[in-house]
């Protein structure tokens, strides 16, 4: 019947011609496949556009009271919003980056986030064994993002959210796409303006263990990198900055792996750090669970951030009391004196944590 209708005949003819153009058919099929995969992988893109997120992080300057520094366990594990529940009038920024190491430049950039006029400057360091390795310092995640931002074009910055939809799949994830009944597949990562990337992913307990095993081959924690942190802590203390550090909680398997392969000696680091005037915060890793054997999900991150903020807040109050009891003005310009005070009170206050 269609052939007797001239309009129908034309449509049929056009459809046949279109189908004959195999390039077009292929492009349509490929777009459909990408759309199906994006839909099936159930990524929920939330928060700040990824490119904007990284752009903000690498261009922040001198507007915080507290900077939290470290690698991906900080990036995903510390929520400035949650911290501000305890540290109410603090401007907190999360300066964590994937795979970053403590290079002098990174430490300087972290310190540079603090507002010079702030009276309550704090730096919180997340000390992971990997962040102290030469490889992490060399392939610095912070520097990578900085260079990427410099290179990124305007389209990428505006449409960065699409990047998540077409981000590479792991083999296991790709096999999951074909499962009809899927449970526990709520993926999302929410990038917040203060630099935290809160993640919800299905739990694969040993997902990260394998790569960490490789990460420490010919790449153990470096003494010179620890020295840089100790020197910076000492210097910052003299500038009136309170420096805290903690080992981000992770799975017991990961702790065991890192302690056996990385060459990191937590006790020795802690002694040196405290000797330089820093305050070490103990965190009990058994209270937290990870989604991949390494990183906390967003709920764990919020819990950890609250715990740290509570301890820091208590320390700050005690420190203030200690300063007052010695009749020292809180805004004393003699920063060396303040650092000495911090040293002595800091050691005392360790016991309270």
């Amino acid at each position: 019947m269609a052939s007797s209708n001239p309009k129908g005949k034309t449509i049929l003819c056009v459809a046949q011609n279109v189908l004959r153009e195999r390039c077009l058919v292929t492009v349509v099929l490929a777009v459909a496949m990408v759309a199906i995969v994006s839909w099936r992988r159930e990524i929920d893109v939330r928060g700040v556009n990824p490119y904007k997120f990284w752009e903000n992080k690498v261009t922040w300057s001198q507007n915080a009271d507290m900077a939290v520094i470290g690698d991906s366990r900080i990036l995903q594990g510390i929520s400035p919003q949650a911290m501000r529940k305890m540290l109410v009038d603090y401007r907190v920024l999360n300066f964590g980056f994937f795979g970053t190491g403590y290079s002098p430049e990174y430490l300087f950039a972290g310190k540079n986030l603090l507002d010079p006029k702030s009276k309550k400057k704090i730096i919180l360091l997340g000390i992971t064994p990997h962040s102290l390795t030469p490889e992490a310092v060399k392939s610095n995640g912070w520097l990578f993002r900085k260079k990427q931002y410099q290179k990124a074009n305007i389209i990428k910055r505006r449409l960065g959210c699409l990047d998540q939809l077409v981000s590479p799949l792991k083999i296991k994830e790709s096999l999951d796409l074909f499962k009809i009944k899927r449970e526990d597949r709520q993926y999302f990562s929410e990038n917040t303006p203060a630099g935290w990337s809160g993640v919800i992913r299905p739990v694969i307990p040993d997902d990260a263990l394998r790569s960490y095993k490789l990460a420490f081959i010919n790449n153990r924690t470096g003494t010179h990198i620890v020295d840089e942190i100790i020197d910076a802590t000492h210097k910052w203390g003299r500038e009136g900055i309170n420096v805290y550090a903690f080992r981000p909680p992770t799975s017991s398997e990961m702790v065991e792996l890192e302690d056996s392969l990385s060459g990191f000696d937590e006790k020795s680091f802690r002694n040196r750090f405290e000797g330089a005037g820093g305050i070490w915060i103990d965190v009990n890793p058994s209270q937290y669970s990870t989604y991949d054997g390494s990183h906390l999900n967003r709920y764990g991150a919020e819990k950890l951030s609250l715990e740290l903020a509570r301890k820091i807040s208590r320390y700050q109050q005690n420190r203030q009391q200690a300063i007052n009891s010695r009749n020292l003005p809180a805004n004393k310009s003699s920063v060396n004196h303040l650092a000495d005070t911090q040293n002595s009170t800091g050691t005392l206050l360790q016991r309270q944590f």
Partner: protein, 421 residues
Amino acid sequence: MIIGSGLLDFLAGLGMLRFPRRKKLLLFGSILANIGTLATFKYLDFFIGSFQGLLLWAGLESPLRPLGFILPIGISFYTFQSMSYTIDIYRNQLEPTRNILHFFAYLAMFPQLVAGPIIRAKDLLPQLKTTKGTSESQRWQGMQLVVLGYFKKVVIADNLAPIINSAFDSTTAFPSSLYWWLIMVMFAFQIYCDFSGYTDIARGLARWMGYEFSVNFNHPYLASSFRDFWGRWHISLSTWFRDYLYIPLGGSRKGIWRGHLNMWVTMLVSGLWHGAAWPFVLWGGLHGGYLTIERITQWPQRLARIPGGRHLAALFVFTSVVLGWVFFRAQSLEQALEVFSVMLSFRHVEANIIRDMISYKASLLLMIMVFSELYVYLGLQHYFTIRMPVPRLTRPIGIALLIAACVYFRGIGNDFIYFQF
């Protein structure tokens, strides 16, 4: 740079037509300018560095310092194309074009400008003269080539790269020969997919524009002799060296030993063409050695006479080529020798450590590559083509799947390896 050297060769070509008696002089000028440019920008610092090393060894201080020139992108490729243009005119194998746009389109055709294939003026200039629209079949073939090229590059090569890079970034070589053999086999497929992927993209783009570039790779790892390997690997460069260096030197026409010498010169220059560093020269030398032994002993022919001999020959050639790649990939001569010694020591470590060091994805991709090469080696593609007629939509679905694979299984972006040459 490209405009300067291009203009010189364009004018030299016209000059040879106008002044046939000055042909030799014009050719000499063209070659001198091209080689001079290449030598200055690519090799001067290498020679200065080597000279410095020699003086240092003799306990003297060198008065020369490296100049630090930036290597112009694609210089090795367009210089060779430009030279072949004037040489072909000199040999009366090519009529010089009077159309400067055609000449520069030949010299700077964007898909292949940076990393080849090295096209010949006698192949492309006639195509430029008779430009016409493209057919659906050409567009489809072009698309298949482009997608296949991208798949080879972003899925295979870029996913293998991090494991290989991390192996070579280590300050000391991991003491397991099995591990290094695996790494080097991976590198063999990485460089193959990286380079042949680029060539496929270039050929596909050219086909979309209505042009035809010659095939540059023909399953090189299936070669059953070293001569066969060089007839399948970077064919446009191998034939360039054959036509413009080996044969002018006399080829194998001037006696056995002169033939060997010419072949060695060609292989060493070919190694140096790839990079201004001693490991590349050694790589060329190693292949020169392989070819010499092959010519003298005729082992591929002898081996082919025994049952399964052809397969043994292919395996031996592949293994030897993989060994040669150590010099190509190592960051220094010392590292190359260290890796080489570990590979040949047959020292072993626990298999589970190696399993941890090489990701599942990389192992899977390696297997895909090995099976796809075996598929061709065993001639299965002919079997399936004859026995199983393919429905019209099967190929578009296959290519669409490859596009989706490029999107979702892409590795970390890396430059094409041959961009550095």
